[in-house]
Symmetry: C2
């Protein structure tokens, strides 16, 4: 990770002490490096502390547990994916095209993570297995993106207005999981761009019905 | 398992010798019992052989490996689920209602397996993790069920005919996975009947567009 990047821990559970403390960032940078090199599961709090010449108890001034550090790093990683998806949908005004880009964007980012940053993928995988808060926030953010697109499409008259907004958007959000859930990605073992486009098309047809 | 039940091994890989040999059924019954009691991973070929007073090498006359036995039992288990889904959709003539029952049926059967036959769920889970042939056949069967419903709906004029049949049906089949994939079921940790109905509704709206 670029040392200039600041990891935003607002809303991340298990954090202690002042949010903007430079020690916290130092710990997170060291953790990020260790997770990328050796993986989340194989890294201990002692490894992280040692890397920056701190004592393990000192780390507890900032974080409840290794998981709290993992959640902060995972949140940052998932946040980057969300930012890219947001940028991609901001580049078009069509709600139909935006919806397609959510599916394609999540698929391609998930697949790239698995292939290019396997250890980061494993961290995200742990967040799914253990149901971390970072994952809930990510799923909620995906839902909110989809909700905004559906609302826009309803307002412009391109999308139907008969179905309950919340339920429809929750269901669409669930469908995107087929293309970014770490276990499903691993088991698919290949890029699923075509499948993601096909799923987006089913969703779009249902919205323009 | 009821001792009267015969496990059909046709099409299951890793089988050796005559398909209808009563020894094969005896081995499968013993394996089924062991898998249910101790789980697939913890059962060895030697355990199965010992239970029916056979030697482990003798088992290799009928099966390539423990996985070949696992696949046969898994196929049988998934086949039972398919039969129940088939029965449920045969009870209505409406393609819309049939489609809804596929989603609801797979969800409820998957959830019941997780809750009532945890060890069998674990065996199915192993088939997903390791990509067994029994799983491919199950997914293909789900696809064929969906394809039949869509063809029927297109013939009766209830479903649209503009989209490519194969792609649309493959996509719908993928969507059902959200409700029976063992890992997703475990992580959901609750019955998802409402979500399955909502997903079926999105699919149905897209088909009746």
């Amino acid at each position: 990770m670029d040392q200039e990047i600041t990891i935003d821990v607002s809303g991340v559970s298990g954090q202690r002490g002042p949010a903007d403390h430079k020690r916290r960032q130092q710990i997170l940078q060291a953790a990020d490096e260790h997770f990328r090199l050796y993986g989340y599961r194989k890294t201990t709090l002692a490894d992280i502390a040692k890397a920056i010449n701190l004592s393990t108890p000192y780390l507890y001034k900032f974080f409840d547990s290794k998981q709290a550090i993992g959640e902060a790093i995972c949140s940052h990683c998932l946040g980057t994916i969300l930012t890219e998806v947001e940028q991609s949908i901001a580049a078009t005004r069509s709600p139909v095209e935006k919806m397609r880009r959510v599916f394609i964007g999540l698929e391609s980012r998930g697949w790239r993570l698995l292939n290019e940053q396997r250890k980061m993928h494993d961290l995200v995988s742990a967040s799914f297995e253990e149901g971390w808060g970072s994952l809930d926030r990510f799923k909620e953010a995906v839902f909110q993106i989809i909700r905004r697109i559906v609302v826009q499409g309803r307002e412009s008259g391109e999308f139907e207005r008969k179905t309950p907004l919340e339920e429809t958007c929750r269901t669409i959000a669930r469908m995107t999981e087929l293309f970014f859930h770490p276990t499903l990605l691993e088991q698919a073992g290949k890029s699923q761009e075509e499948e993601a486009v096909a799923a987006a098309n089913v969703v779009i047809r249902s919205l323009t019905a």
